[in-house]
């Protein structure tokens, strides 16, 4: 049964409409885009296409270009578990907004379907946003079909690699709590804004700073 649930988490598509409806109810501005992948089979075999925006999405993003400069962007991507996004993304974003620095501007929430992690870097790069975090469904385990991950990049571009990103993983009620994940993300973002980099050089010492500060 656990294997069956994990298989379904991979193959059942994310309901983008109900996700963006739930966001609109909270007065959040959203933009829905998709990657260059056509279907789930090619999503699994062609991660390169899942990392890039479709031509249509690129055009729509350029047209939508926000007026004021954005400091920080949240992207939501289905990844390998649509149920992770459906179950946890709204609650985590609420808490991120709660801890969000007052003097920063957050852009609209971009919902990306058939997405891999790196798609967030392209999205932020198009709008020239210096910081981006993608909430994405992690590959499902037998006891965790709906685990959420967050990847954060400072100064994202098409050349960004894994070494440029910080990862917060295993976000779900039985794993890392929503609150802890949101706090960690904001801590990383504040440090990155100060140091002007993210990734392997940016060490998570959030508890020390939180204690001292």
């Amino acid at each position: 049964m656990a294997h069956a649930m994990a298989r379904d988490a991979v193959h059942i598509p994310l309901n983008v409409q109900s996700l963006s409806d739930a966001m609109h109810e909270r007065q959040w501005e959203t933009l829905c885009v998709s990657s260059r992948v056509k279907d789930r089979h090619s999503y699994l075999l062609r991660p390169d296409l899942g990392r890039r925006l479709s031509d249509d999405a690129c055009t729509r993003m350029s047209e939508y270009k926000p007026q004021e400069p954005i400091d920080f962007l949240i992207v939501v991507g289905d990844g390998l578990s649509s149920s992770a996004i459906a179950n946890h993304s709204i609650a985590v974003i609420e808490l991120i907004k709660c801890h969000f620095p007052k003097d920063w501007i957050m852009g609209p929430i971009v919902c990306a379907s058939q997405a891999r992690v790196a798609i967030a870097d392209e999205i932020a790069w198009i709008w020239k946003v210096p910081m981006v975090a993608i909430l994405i469904g992690e590959r499902p385990g037998l006891t965790s079909p709906d685990s959420l991950g967050i990847y954060f990049t400072f100064n994202p571009s098409l050349e960004s690699t894994d070494a440029d990103r910080n990862c917060i993983s295993n976000i779900r009620p039985q794993g890392l709590s929503y609150e802890a994940a949101a706090k960690k993300l904001i801590w990383l973002a504040r440090q990155a804004a100060l140091l002007k980099y993210s990734g392997v050089k940016l060490k998570d010492e959030s508890d020390i700073t939180m204690l001292n500060g």
């Binding site: 656990a2 294997h3 994990a6 298989r7 988490a9 991979v10 699994l44 075999l45 062609r46 991660p47 390169d48 390998l80 992690e138 590959r139 499902p140 385990g141 037998l142 006891t143 965790s144 685990s147 690699t161 894994d162 070494a163 910080n166 993983s169 295993n170 039985q174 794993g175 890392l176 990734g199 392997v200 050089k201 060490k203 998570d204 010492e205 959030s206 508890d207 020390i208």
Partner: protein, 461 residues
């Protein structure tokens, strides 16, 4: 240099050695993702015939990634053992396969040429070997390493105990750890993949693990699989670290995407040596690799994923590791699509690693988005244990709840040890007997409720 092969009226042209290697590779999704795989079965077979005729010397003259561009190539060429290469330098890839299979090519002979075999030579010959060839040659290779016990002895099957927990909860880790020890797992290493990158939390975990194995005088080593730069920093702060872990790949650019270089690994090795914690030996490094990592970092330069993987073994070999394992099904179906591809890759990786002189273990595993299941894992672990694999993973219930993938269980190692009459590392086996966990016949004993190890749990609770 271009290569040609004619099959009746059909003529096949291969632009260079890396193109030939890629076309000769057994079909797998990652090579098609990279656009380097053979376009037909006939082209694949033509490439194999053609590859069989290539002299081993060609691999030294025509590196798959230029010497000037890549530090892994420089390492391969500069550290090539030309003296022992003289034994095999006259061979073609096809001759080399035949030579490897000769009864007169013994364990000693294979060990003597290990450093004359470049990753590309190992990868090339594997591509013209069937699974039984890969198993029988790998079985002849003996690679023995030491830290607090002896890894890789003939007749032994070692196991990494992997007590991961999604929030690094000590109670959860301790429960998995004790479960594993009571199953006789943990002689290769007790190695945790932490959820956190947080240095003070990592430090606590290192001290806790070290206290634990000292308290019970367990002849094994511990490791926490965090980035190598974290481990260097922690060693500088006086944290007790046995083995330094890092994931490595087969090209400079892929390693850069991991945030590492060969010199950084050398620095880490020196840091670990400075602690002088080994008792029987000084193999202080632990590496993990996996086919597809170079492509995943967009750093494969048109080289097929199995050849890239073998090049990662050159990086590992340079640092004399205690343990190295391919995490063969971890990366997902875009690189190894199904059980058949995972099985083949696991046997290739084990063969290439052993041939090059590495203490190679395999994390026999799959992810839930691949076309594979537990039966595929049973098959591969049984083949690998038959081939003399150095170690396998031990995860409670074969389900890693931290990394979300399906690996092998404590019980799996037990099954293989009993099936194939294999034992844990001798020092560890003695400890298991002393602790009344295993008898002298290798049978597990019933654990009494007042067993001393269970005190750990009450301490943590």
């Amino acid at each position: 240099m271009p290569y040609h092969y004619s099959l009746g009226v059909q003529h096949f042209h291969f632009a260079d050695l890396k193109g030939l290697l890629a076309k000769a590779s057994p079909a797998r999704s990652g090579d098609y993702l990279a656009g380097v795989g053979a376009q037909s079965n006939v082209e694949r077979m033509a490439a194999r015939y053609c590859l069989a005729n290539v002299p081993l010397k060609d691999f030294l003259q025509d590196p798959v990634i230029p010497y000037e561009d890549d530090e892994v190539t420089r390492l391969i060429i500069d550290s090539h053992d030309t003296a022992s290469f003289s034994l095999i330098s006259h061979l073609t890839v096809g001759d080399f396969r035949n030579w490897l299979l000769l009864a007169s090519t013994t364990s000693q002979v294979l060990a003597s040429v290990a450093r004359a075999i470049t990753p590309e030579m190992a990868a090339a010959v594997s591509k013209i070997m069937r699974n039984q060839d890969l198993i029988s040659v790998a079985k002849k290779c003996q690679v023995i390493t030491r830290f607090r016990n002896t890894i890789g002895l003939p007749g032994c099957l070692n196991a990494r105990l992997q007590p991961n927990h999604p929030t690094d909860n000590l109670q959860g880790i301790a429960a998995s750890l004790l479960d594993g020890l009571f199953y006789g797992s943990g002689d290769a290493v007790i190695g945790i993949n932490p959820a956190t990158d947080n240095l003070s939390q990592l430090s606590e975990l290192y001290f806790w693990l070290d206290d634990f194995i000292q308290q019970y005088a367990i002849p094994t080593q511990t490791c926490i699989l965090t980035h190598v730069t974290n481990q260097i920093q922690l060693i500088e702060k006086g944290v007790p670290i046995d083995l330094v872990f890092q994931s490595v790949a087969g090209t400079e650019k892929a390693n850069k995407s991991f945030g590492i270089s060969i010199s950084l690994l050398e620095e880490a090795q020196a840091a670990a040596h400075s602690l002088n914690r080994g008792v029987l030996g000084n193999n202080v490094m632990y590496f993990e690799t996996g086919q597809g990592s170079a492509l995943s970092a967009n750093a494969h330069f048109g080289v097929d994923q199995q050849t890239c993987e073998a090049r990662a073994y050159a990086v590992a070999r340079h640092l004399s590791p205690l343990l190295t394992n391919s995490v063969v099904g971890f990366i997902g179906p875009e690189y190894l699509y199904d059980g058949k591809q995972i099985t083949r890759a696991g046997l290739e990786d084990h063969f290439c690693g052993k041939l090059m002189g590495l203490p190679l273990g395999v994390d026999v595993c799959y992810t839930n988005h691949a076309e594979a299941d537990q039966d595929d894992m049973d098959n591969l672990m049984t083949l690998l244990a038959t081939a003399g694999v150095t170690y396998l993973m031990g995860v409670p219930g074969a389900d890693d709840i931290m990394l979300n993938y399906q690996s092998t269980s404590f019980h799996d190692t037990l099954y293989l040890r009993q099936l194939l009459k294999l034992t844990p590392a001798p020092e560890f086996a003695s400890w298991l007997m002393k602790m009344n966990i295993m008898d002298s016949q290798g049978q597990l004993l019933t654990v009494a409720q007042q067993h001393p190890l269970l005190k750990t749990m009450s301490g943590v609770i």
